[in-house]
């Protein structure tokens, strides 16, 4: 089985429209959550979110291309361009049939759906934009990535709600490891900060009206975000052969299903995914220095996730650093695991641990070192990234220095 490494990273999210800006925000513990700004926001009961501000699609795309791109695909393409540039790939290296793109998303072209519904239902019109379907389809981001770089191997979208990105990156890792592909663009993208998208979330009554405080005793819900993260994954041999800078090695991946409740999380299912990723990576629990938690800030997730980390890591849970960066970039749903993987790269490369900001008061149910409020400088050799989705679908990635 081949070793798999990451040689490029890109992102657009509420904190910044590139990786350096995002890592700086992580290190500073900056919060990207603020008042939402879009039509009809005054009809929502929760009006905060981590919105990508000052987004100028015209700066990135020709008008003819833009007409095909929902915001979720725009964010994915711009993130992928940054990743490919960092990897030093103007186009795919080697055989294009051996490269592909796998992208996570939950809502796909949700804002295109919102616009089309507004047109026919609210405005009473009888036609929508002719390219509504290619804009809204869930696989649009993966397809545009394949088109931009001529990747002719396996490309597809993965939709596992809040775990979509981790499933996508994990599948890309497995495909390269097994020899099915030589390189993959992998990550996730989400943009559903619009009236219809958030109206649906309101119904569940799990969103906080005032902020995201993961693992804090005062936490009262999640805060929605938007964004994309894309990574270049390739075999260790090909990366070394062309002298590419290796950002980290993807060591292991595991996915499990709770097979229980459609929304309530299970510590057992999450713990099996964490243990599975460690076993797949050949890493012992005490080798993990940092865990990027799912840490949504809901009452149920954070309590359950802490129990799962204790169950999977045993005594090592006492000293591992665990943080949730969602307090900064919001919950980017299908894109969140990809944005959060950047915190793992920062820990492994720079030895900077992104903090869990907005921490006010310890919760006895969340007894872990959650790196409250301030980033920490600690060398880390191996890290995990957790993602636990509605529907009881769990996906955990294990990374290390090469």
């Amino acid at each position: 089985m081949r070793r798999v490494v990451i040689t490029g990273a890109g992102t657009v999210n509420a904190l910044a429209q590139d990786v350096p800006g995002t890592l700086k925000a992580f290190a500073e513990g900056r919060c990207g959550i603020g008042p939402l700004d879009f039509p009809d926001v005054e009809r929502l009961s929760v009006r905060i979110g981590a919105q990508v501000r000052d987004w100028t699609p015209e700066a990135h795309f020709e008008r003819a291309q833009l007409t095909l791109l929902d915001p979720f695909a725009q964010l994915a393409l711009v993130a992928a361009r940054e990743a490919m540039a960092q990897a030093g790939l103007g186009k795919s290296p080697g055989a294009p049939e051996r490269w592909g793109a796998v992208m996570g998303t939950a809502g796909g072209g949700n804002s295109t759906v919102n616009d089309a519904f507004r047109t026919v239902f609210a405005e009473g019109k009888n036609r929508v934009h002719p390219l509504t379907v290619p804009r809204l389809m869930n696989n649009a981001a993966a397809s545009h990535l394949s088109m931009e770089w001529g990747l002719m191997g396996p490309s597809f979208s993965v939709a596992t709600a809040c775990a979509s990105s981790n499933h996508a990156i994990g599948l890309a890792f497995q495909m390269i490891r097994s020899g099915m592909a030589d390189g993959m663009l992998a990550g996730g993208s989400e943009s559903m900060l619009n009236f219809g998208g958030l109206k649906a979330w309101e119904g569940l009554r799990v969103m906080s009206p005032d902020g995201c405080r993961p693992f804090c005793a005062t936490r009262n819900g999640m805060v929605q975000g938007e964004g994309a993260g894309v990574f270049v994954l390739e075999s260790y041999e090909s990366a070394s052969a062309r002298g590419a800078e290796i950002l980290a090695e993807v060591r292991g991946f595991a996915m499990t299903s709770d097979a229980g409740d459609i929304v309530a999380p299970s510590a057992e299912g999450a713990a099996r995914a964490i243990s599975g990723a460690l076993a797949d990576a050949g890493l012992a629990a005490d080798e993990i220095g940092y865990i990027n938690a799912h840490g949504t800030g809901t009452s149920a997730n954070d309590r359950t996730e802490c129990a799962a980390i204790h169950a999977a890591l045993g005594a090592s849970a006492e000293r591992v650093m665990v943080s949730s960066t969602k307090a900064m970039h919001g919950h980017c749903i299908g894109g969140t695991g990809a944005v959060e993987l950047l915190a793992c790269l920062m820990a492994l490369r720079d030895g900077i641990i992104a903090p869990t900001i907005n921490h006010v008061q310890a919760d006895p149910d969340c007894a872990l070192d959650i790196v409250p409020n301030t980033a920490r400088q600690v060398p880390v050799r191996a890290a995990l990234s957790n993602a636990f989705a509605f529907g009881g679908l769990n996906a955990v990635l294990a990374l290390s220095k090469v």
Partner: protein, 91 residues
Amino acid sequence: MRPDVQDQIISIIAREAILEPAAVHPDMTLDELGLDSLGLVEVIFAIEEAFDISVPFNANEPSQSHFDISSVGAIVRAVERMIAGQAPAAA
């Protein structure tokens, strides 16, 4: 308690709990009725639709939501207060 409000709420809860309305009494808790968290948000939605009110409820902190869900009767009283607050003339 206003009988019409109580009857309507019992009918909503009974439908969600898949019980006959006669089997739902004001002193019963939602747990006793077998309603889980999803059932509860559906009940609240139905109440909001039926009485044209907006119920302040956050599933993360049900006990601090200023909407008492400790029993069927408590829900009825909370809804009555909200109806009275929003439309005093009708009370």
